[in-house]
Amino acid sequence: MTTSARIFGPAAREAMESRFARTIAARLSERAENVAPEIGERLRFAREKAVAAGRLARSGAEVQGAGDGSAILGLSRSVWWQRIATVLPLAALVAGLALIEDWQTRSQISVAAEVDAALLSDDLPINAYSDPGFVEYLKARPGE
């Protein structure tokens, strides 16, 4: 171990290194501040372009954020309208078919009832139409 190594402990050595490094860094800053005007101008242009890109990204994020909220609502509405638009015609069709069937059943019942009523309200008993003698009687009557 050299004499200086014994004199300078690790902490002192680190402090000296740090001090020296910061002195160098200060000189680098001094030199960097004096860049050529053309370089400075191009850096300014790059900075302005970046700020504009940041503004665009920020506004895009805000629009997207706002859009997300309305989209959820809009999507919900459209889904509901789609469902309604799909279900309504089907429901109308089913209801129409049910009405038609009901009308047909009622009309059949009505016709049968009218026939039954006509037969029952006639003077001639209904069994007479199945009697062979009565049939012969009807055949013999046209001449009268």
């Binding site: 050595r13 290194e17 020296f20």
Partner: protein, 189 residues
């Protein structure tokens, strides 16, 4: 979320140093401008929602990544890594404490105008700049992030993707290499 003014002020405060760092790395002023512009736009577009306090570390990482991307595009990264690995093997070993003895003297001479006894101040600045440019890439990156960008050791390690111990080693070697080189040029003697 950083405002336009916060973003603009921040970029204005770091743009020249970022450009200089990129110049040190790629040795091409136009390519360095492209890297800085690319890094600025990446920061603005992707991290605009972050608080302004997080911008410095994010920006340093983006500049480092953009620089690496440039090397990838140039397909010379392996050559660069090989070059600075060669340097790293040689640095820091010889005369460690002899250089340490001169650190204070060197620091003092750079801090005061009296350093211009033999060379002008502008020449000293140019010499410092040239010596920093000649540092091995990882040493220079650690040195600049730690002492120029004033990141702490942990932030520097995170930005460089290495351990804190590596950062300390790189920084120490860089300081010693600079001290030795400047002393050899007659500064601080």
């Amino acid at each position: 979320m950083a405002t336009d003014k916060e973003l603009s002020d921040f970029l204005k405060s770091v743009e020249k140093r970022a450009w200089k760092r990129a110049v040190y790395a790629v040795r091409d002023e136009d390519a360095a401008l492209d890297i800085v512009q690319d890094a600025m736009i990446r920061l603005s577009e992707k991290y605009i929602d972050r608080p302004a306090a997080e911008l410095p570390l994010l920006f340093q990482r983006i500049v480092s990544n953009a620089t690496m991307d440039w090397f990838r595009r140039q397909k010379v990264r392996n050559a660069v890594v090989r070059n600075f690995s060669d340097f790293e093997g040689a640095a820091g070993g010889d005369g460690d404490f002899d250089i340490l003895e001169t650190l204070e003297a060197l620091g003092s001479s750079l801090e005061h105008e009296s350093a211009a006894d033999s060379v002008s101040r502008a020449q000293i600045l140019q010499l410092v700049d040239a010596q920093v440019a000649q540092l091995p890439a990882r040493q220079r990156e650690a040195f600049l992030l730690r002492y120029w960008e004033e990141l702490d050791v942990a932030e520097t390690a995170a930005s460089m993707g290495c351990s804190e111990g590596s950062v300390k080693t790189h920084c120490s070697r860089a300081v010693h290499a600079l001290a030795k080189a400047l002393r050899a040029k007659g500064i601080g003697t």
